[in-house]
Symmetry: C2
Subunit: 238 residues, 2 copies
Amino acid sequence: MPESTLYPHVSVDCVIFGFTGEKLNILLISRSGINEEECYNDMKLPGSVIYENEDLDDAAYRVLHELTGIKNIYLQQFHSFGSPERTKNPQDIVWLENAIHMKIGRIVTIGYVALIKIGQKLQNFSDKYEAHWCDINNIGQLAFDHNIIVEKALDYVRLKLEDDPIGLYELLPKRFTEAELRNLHEIIFGTKVDIRNFHKKFLSLHYVVPLDEKQENVAHRAARYYRFDKIIYNQIHR
Amino acid sequence: MPESTLYPHVSVDCVIFGFTGEKLNILLISRSGINEEECYNDMKLPGSVIYENEDLDDAAYRVLHELTGIKNIYLQQFHSFGSPERTKNPQDIVWLENAIHMKIGRIVTIGYVALIKIGQKLQNFSDKYEAHWCDINNIGQLAFDHNIIVEKALDYVRLKLEDDPIGLYELLPKRFTEAELRNLHEIIFGTKVDIRNFHKKFLSLHYVVPLDEKQENVAHRAARYYRFDKIIYNQIHR
DNA sequence: ACAAAAGTGTTCTTGATACACCCATGG
DNA sequence: CCATGGGTGTATCAAGAACACTTTTGT
C-alpha cells in the first residue's frame, strides 16, 4: 500500500451509507477545534488527502478501511468538487493544516460513495475516530462543502440503484425480510410501493433466496428471512 | 473569467462528441514533438491545467469555448482520473512541461463530456488548434490515459442519454429527419431498432415538432424535417 | 379478543415487440 | 422503369398499477 509523502492538492471524501432498517444514515466524523478564541464542534465526511503515489480509488479504500475495518466494500467514485470557494472558511483551513501538518492552498476533492451493512464490528473502529451514524434527514452544517457533497451523493445512489439494485443488498444485513427490502426501496426512491405488487416482483427475483428461518419474539406474525445470492445475480445481469 | 497563475496539479479533459449523420465522432487535438531524437505525431483530448482560482466546470467551459467558439454547451463532468501511472510516459511529461512552462509531477484530471452539433463555424476555430473530428471506432493510441478516458466517456453518455434523451438533440442539427434520429439511436445504444415501432414512438414525442420543409435533391422520396422544442421538453420532464 | 404486520390473485392499462407493403423521387 | 429510402397499422405479449381480505403471533 502506498505510503510516501502527502500530495496536498487532491483529497478523497467518502459518503458512507448505512441502513438501520428504519432510516438511511451516513457516517460522519466529529471535529473540534478553536477558531478566534471560540470553541466549535461539528461534523465532517471521512476523507483524506491522497499520497504522492496513490491512486484515487486506493485512497478512498484506505479511508474506508481505516475507519471501518471492512474489506470488499461497495465503493464508487461519483463526482469531483473543485470550487475555489470550498476552502474559503478559515476555520476549515486551520483545522486541515493542523491535521496534515502542511501548508495548504486549494484542494480539489474526489467524492466517493460507499454502501455498507451497519454492524457491531464496525463500532469499535468508529469510536477511535469519533465516527457517528447520522440520519440523512437530520444533518447539520458540515465542514467545507460537505453538505453539497452529501446531496450529490444521494442523487447518485438513487440513480445508480435504479438500474443496478445490487447496492440495496450491500445495505441490508445478510438475512433480511421482504418488508425490510420494501422499506429500503421506499426510503431510497422516495415512493410508496404497493405491498402486493412488490411481493409479486420480489418472488420473481431468483437471486433473493428464502431461508428456513423466521423472525422471533415479534408481536405479530413472524416474517420469513431471505438472503441475497450474488452468484445468481451475476449470472442474470449479463 | 479567472486569469491568474496555473494550478498544475489538476486538469480538465473534454471528450467532445459530434454526429456526422453517419458516425459518432470526437474532437481530438494533434500533438507533435521530439522524444529521444525521434519525432512523433499523435492525438490528445482537448484539455487544460486549471487556474489557481478557477472552478472545475469553468475550466472545462473555457477549454470548450476557446476551441469551438460555442457558448451554451451541453457539458457534464463524468469521472476523474488520478492514477500515478497516467503521467508515466516521459514523452507526455516533456510535452506538457513545454506547453505550460512549469515543472509538473503528478496530475489528476477531471473528465468532462460535451455534446455539440458539427457545424461549419466550428472549423475555423478548430484549425487554429489543429483539431480534428475522429470516428469513435477508429481512434489510435492517444496521449496520457486518454484512451481510457474516452471509453469511460462513452459508457457515461450511453447511460445518461438512456434516461434523459435531451442530449440526442444536442448532437443533431437544428433540423433533422426521423431517420437521422433513428440512426443516432442505433449508434449510441448499439442496437437495431424496428423502423415502424420507432416511428410510432417518434410521433408520440410532442417535443419533436414537424416543419414544412423536406429534403431536396435526394435520390428517393424526400423526408420531412423536424426540430426539437426545448420548452415543450422541459414542461414534460418535470 | 384485539392489535399489528404477514401473506396472497385478479383485472386493467400501458408500453414493447414482431411483422410487410405501397409511395415518392432522381437517375 | 428501376433503385433507394420514406411512410404507414395491427396483433400479441410483458410489465406495471389498482385494489381487500385472511392468517399468524404476542399481549
